[in-house]
Symmetry: C2
Subunit: 389 residues, 2 copies
C-alpha cells in the first residue's frame, strides 16, 4: 500500500426530510449570505427550492440565487456566479441539484476568492482556498457531495476538464433518497453507471497488496449490482435509492481508493463524448468502459478475473484466467444494457467520423501520452473509440 | 435504512514515517502547547516518543508529558492529566499509543473543559466540548483513532463505561503500520479480534434493507480473515499490517454502521471481564462473541447464515438455514483460536464462581435490561457467561 493522506470533513445529514436542515447547517458552518445555485426544472417544480429557501429563512439566513446549470456544466455560468457572489457579498454557496450543480458551485467558490481566471484551476493550478459549499443532493451519481473534485466544460473549444482540492470538499451534504425518486429511469441508470465507474477506476490499480480497498470497492459494486435492478423496476423504492445514494458517496470520497494507483482513463475518454455530444456522462461511460477494460485486459488478467469472480459471480477458469476476465467484462456490459444504458456510438448519438477530433481534444495540452492503469497514446485512443462503434 | 448523520472530520496521515508529521499537524490544527500522553515501555524503548518530541520541537511546539496509561485505562490517571493540563495551559492532547492511550486522552480532553467530575460523561452526560486531540497509533484494534468513542474504567468498583461525542473525534491521526510490527502476536491477535467485534456488532442489526452497510462490513471481515493469518505468521509483514490498520479505522468510524440499529451486547458483556481480570479486551471478546452469537442465533437465523456464506465461505443449506448459521459461528470461533486467542473462561483467566458478580456489575445503573440485537436480563447474561466456561 502506498503512503497517503485522507481527509473527509463533510457533515452528512441523510434521510427523509433532511433538506429541512439546510438553514441550520449553513449557520453551523458559518454562512450568513448564501448563493443558492441550481439547474432548474425539477428542483423548482417539485417545490424543493422553496423548501430550502424556507429553511434558510427560518434560520435567519439571507440568500440570492442563480439557476440554469446544465448537465456538463459550463464555464459561462461559473463566471456569472463569481460576479454575483462578489457583487452581493455572498459567503456560502448552497448547491441544490446533482453533480453538475455541485461542480459548478465549487468552481464559483474557488473563483470567488481568486483574482485571476478561475479556469486556471482547471488547467493545473492548485486551489488553496474557496468559499464554503453545502449541497442538497438530488441524484446519486457524481459523488461530488463528498469529494473535493469538480469538472467543468469550457465553452470555447468544448474542453471538459477537472480539478481537485480538499478546499472544495463540501462543509455539509444533505442526502435525502426520496428526492431521487422522481428521476426518470434513464438518468437513474446513468447515475448508477457513473458510481460504478468511480469504483472500477479505483479498482484498476498497479499497486500490490491492497486487499482492504479491493474488498471495499467490491462491496459497493455488489451493492449496486443488487440495488440497481430494484430501483429500475420500481423508481419509488426508497430503500434501494438509499443504498445506492450512500454507496455513491462512499465510493467517491476516496476512503476506498486511498494508498493505491488509480485508472481514470475511462473518465478521460468519456469526457470528450459528453462534451461534444452533450450526452449523459454515465451513458457515455457505459459505452466507454467495456472498450477500455477490454483494451487494458492483457495488462493484468488476474485483476479482471478477480472482479469477475468476486462481483459478477463468474466461476474461475484456473487453466484460462483470461476467459474468466473477459466473462466479467461481458457480464458488466450486459448489466449496463439491462438497466437501459446505450451499448455503442450509435445508441449514444456519437459518430465514427468524429474519432480523429475526439482524439485531438483528448490529448490537447498533454505530451501525447495519458496514464492510468496503462499508458495510452493517440493511436491507442483511436482504437478504443473505434471499439465503441 | 434509518435516517442518520455522519461526520468524520479527522485528517489521516497513513504510511511509513508519517509520525514525523506530528508537529506540523498539531500546528495545522491550532495547538501551541501539547500534552503528550502515552503508556510507557515500547513507545519509549522503540524511540517513537523521542521522534514525536523532535517533530514537535521542529515545528516550534512546546509540550509536557504524562505516561503510565495501562490497558483498560483508569480514571486515576485521567484526573492527574486534567490537573496537569489546567496547570500547564495545555491546548492540545497528543496520544501516542493504542486505544487505551487514545481513550484516556479523550477523557482528559473533555474533562479539561468541564468544571464537574469528568466521570459524569461516562455516566450519561453528553460531551459538548473538548480540547483537540491528535493521535499517533501503535496498535490496530480499538478504532479510537477515527471515532468519537472512549472507554474508561473507574477504579472504585472497577466500573468500565463508555461515552461518545463528535467533540472527541481526533483532529488528526497518524497511522504508520510499521509501528505495529513490534507488537507481540497475542496483542496483534487481540487487536484483530477487537476490530472484528466492531464489525460484527454493527452487522447484527434489526434494521431491514441495509445492503450497502452489510456489504461494507463483510468486505472488512473478509480483509481481516485474509490478512490476520499472514501477520501472525510474519509479524514484519508491512502490507498485511497496513491492510489491517485501515480496516480497523474504517470499521469503527461508523461509515459502515450508519442508518442501522447495532448490537454491542458482546462489548458490554466483555467489559466486565477485562475490568475484573484485566485481560486484553480483544481476548475477552474472543471468548464472549461465540457465546453471545449462539444465544442470539434464533432471533435472526438468516442474518447469521448470510455472514456464514458471504464471509466464512459456508455453503448455504437452504433446507436448514440454522445449520449454516451455526457453521458460520463455529468457523469464526475456530478462526479466533487459530490466531492464538483463548477459547474459554479458563484460558482467559476468568472464574465460573464470579459469574454472579459479573452479572451484577454488568447491570449496575440499568433497569435490569440491556438492549442490542436482542434484549437480555440478568438471567440471560448469566446463561451467556456460563456458555463461556
Amino acid at each position: 500500500m502506498n503512503n497517503f493522506t485522507f481527509y473527509s470533513p463533510t457533515f452528512f445529514a441523510f434521510g427523509k426530510d433532511s433538506e429541512d436542515k439546510a438553514g441550520e447547517l449553513v449557520k453551523r458552518f458559518g454562512g450568513t449570505k448564501v448563493l443558492i445555485h441550481y439547474g432548474g426544472g425539477s428542483v423548482v417544480r417539485s417545490g424543493l427550492l422553496d423548501r430550502v429557501k424556507r429553511s434558510l429563512e427560518n434560520a435567519g439566513i439571507g440568500y440570492t440565487e442563480l439557476g440554469g446549470v446544465k448537465p456538463n456544466p459550463r464555464s459561462g455560468l461559473v463566471y456569472e456566479g463569481i460576479d454575483l457572489v462578489k457583487r452581493e457579498g455572498v459567503d456560502f454557496i448552497l448547491a441544490v441539484g446533482g453533480g453538475s450543480t455541485i461542480d459548478s458551485s465549487k468552481a464559483i467558490a474557488a473563483g470567488a476568492l481568486y483574482d485571476g481566471d478561475f479556469w486556471d484551476f482547471y488547467s493545473g493550478k492548485q486551489i488553496e482556498k474557496a468559499l464554503p459549499v453545502g449541497t442538497v443532493l438530488t441524484i446519486a451519481a457524481a459523488g461530488s457531495e463528498g469529494s473535493g473534485d469538480s469538472v467543468i466544460t469550457k465553452e470555447e473549444g468544448m474542453l471538459k476538464r477537472g480539478t481537485g482540492s480538499d478546499a472544495l470538499r463540501p462543509k455539509f451534504s444533505i442526502l435525502n433518497p426520496a428526492l431521487t425518486q422522481t428521476l426518470p429511469p434513464y438518468q437513474t441508470a446513468a447515475g448508477i453507471t457513473d458510481i460504478m465507474a468511480h469504483l472500477y477506476e479505483r479498482y484498476l490499480t498497479n499497486t500490490k497488496d491492497v486487499e482492504v480497498t479491493d474488498r471495499l470497492i467490491e462491496a459497493l459494486l455488489l451493492t449496486l449490482k443488487h440495488e440497481a435492478p430494484r430501483v429500475i423496476a420500481n423508481p419509488n423504492d426508497y430503500e434501494a435509492r438509499a443504498n445506492i445514494m450512500w454507496a455513491g458517496m462512499v465510493g467517491h470520497n476516496n476512503s476506498c481508493g486511498v494508498g493505491r494507483s488509480q485508472d481514470w482513463l475511462s473518465h478521460m475518454i468519456e469526457h470528450e463524448l459528453s462534451a461534444l455530444y452533450d450526452c449523459a456522462h454515465g451513458a457515455g461511460l457505459a459505452v466507454t468502459m467495456p472498450a477500455v477494460f477490454t483494451y487494458e485486459l492483457e495488462h493484468d488478467v488476474m485483476r479482471f478475473a478477480q472482479v469477475a469472480v468476486r462481483v459478477w459471480g463468474c466461476q474461475m477458469d484456473f487453466a484460462h484466467p483470461e476467459v474468466t476476465a473477459k466473462e466479467g467484462i461481458e457480464a458488466f456490459r450486459k448489466f449496463l444494457i439491462s438497466i437501459g444504458m446505450p451499448k455503442n456510438f450509435e445508441e449514444l448519438g456519437a459518430k465514427e467520423e468524429d474519432i480523429p477530433k475526439l482524439v485531438d481534444v483528448l490529448f490537447e495540452g498533454s505530451d501525447g501520452k495519458l496514464n492510468g492503469f496503462i499508458e495510452i497514446n493517440k493511436e491507442d485512443a483511436a482504437k478504443i473509440y473505434k471499439m465503441m462503434v
